[in-house]
């Protein structure tokens, strides 16, 4: 446990990790959302034709 939490710079460090996490989350949601939407549309097409 060699991290010194009193250092005020943690605001920046925390901010960087938070932004990375939010970024990955947003990109994941967008891409996986696209996948499910089009996969469902493709499945409906094959069922109806």
């Amino acid at each position: 446990m060699s991290a010194d939490f009193t250092d005020p710079v943690w605001m920046y460090v925390g901010g960087a990790y938070l932004l990375a996490a939010l970024g990955f989350g947003a990109l994941g949601v967008v891409i996986i959302g696209r996948l499910t939407r089009w996969a469902r549309a493709a499945r409906m097409d094959t069922e109806s034709s």
Partner: protein, 241 residues
């Protein structure tokens, strides 16, 4: 191997299990890497705690370049062997690469703020990364601007390859330029300055970024393959009626 993935059906069956597998791997690596980087690794004797930003900044820089090189390879294959899936791969990788480049710029700025007292420093690496980010935007903009998908893919491939050749030129000219304006930058991104104890979390996080890219890429490619299939079917139905 390349021909093996030529037809979408085989790609779909492979990627069906591959993208969740890579996704889970990414989550595990992040779960190990992040706390390791944030808490258990040592602070830097000079910069103190702010060096921890390196673990999210440096892998983003590595992979922003790595993904563009991947796109270059895919563009080459799609142009030379007219390989539809390679075109889908390049196009699906672009937004992820752009995100990595953007993340690298933002985390670089957050790292620079405490160490230099300003949010943006025209450090050689950050400037090169900014130009790479613009190159990504150009690729995405060209794809968005041309509606004939097949031609857009091949034109973007030509642009991507031209950009790939341009990157080392930009890198070295910016390096030369930055020595003109101020001394070697503080923001050393690895190499000798990396203390062995820092290498562990750094490589874990780099692995997490790689797995995340693989998962997002494969998912994005699947989405595109389904989209093209559905749109082609709708086109046929519209024409048949």
């Amino acid at each position: 191997m390349i021909q093996a993935f030529a037809n979408p059906a085989r790609f779909l069956s492979f990627s069906a299990w591959a993208w969740p597998f890579a996704g889970v791997a990414a989550l595990i690596l992040f779960a190990i890497g992040a706390p390791w980087a944030l808490v258990f690794s040592p602070g830097d004797y000079q910069q103190g705690e702010s060096v921890r930003i390196m673990y999210v900044h440096v892998p983003a820089a590595w992979w922003a370049l790595g993904i563009y090189a991947f796109m270059g390879g895919a563009s080459f294959v799609s142009l030379i062997w007219r390989h539809a899936l390679a075109d889908v791969a390049a196009r699906a990788a672009a937004p992820i690469g752009a995100f990595y480049a953007g993340l690298c710029l933002v985390t670089g700025s957050l790292w620079g703020a405490p160490t230099w007292g300003t949010w943006w420093v025209w450090d050689a690496r950050l400037t090169s990364m900014l130009i790479l980010f613009l190159t990504y935007l150009g690729y995405l903009a060209l794809h968005a601007a041309i509606d004939d998908e097949e031609r857009a893919g091949r034109l973007a491939a030509v642009l991507c390859l031209a950009g790939l050749i341009n990157l080392p030129i930009v890198h070295y000219s910016v390096e030369w330029w930055s020595t003109l304006h101020q001394g070697a930058s503080l923001l050393r991104d690895g190499g000798a300055a990396i203390h062995p104890s820092m290498l562990g979390p750094l490589l874990t996080m780099a692995g997490a970024y790689a797995a995340a890219f693989a998962a997002l890429l494969l998912a994005n490619m699947r989405a595109d393959v389904f989209r093209r299939r559905v749109e082609a079917a709708r086109l046929r139905r519209a024409r048949a009626s």
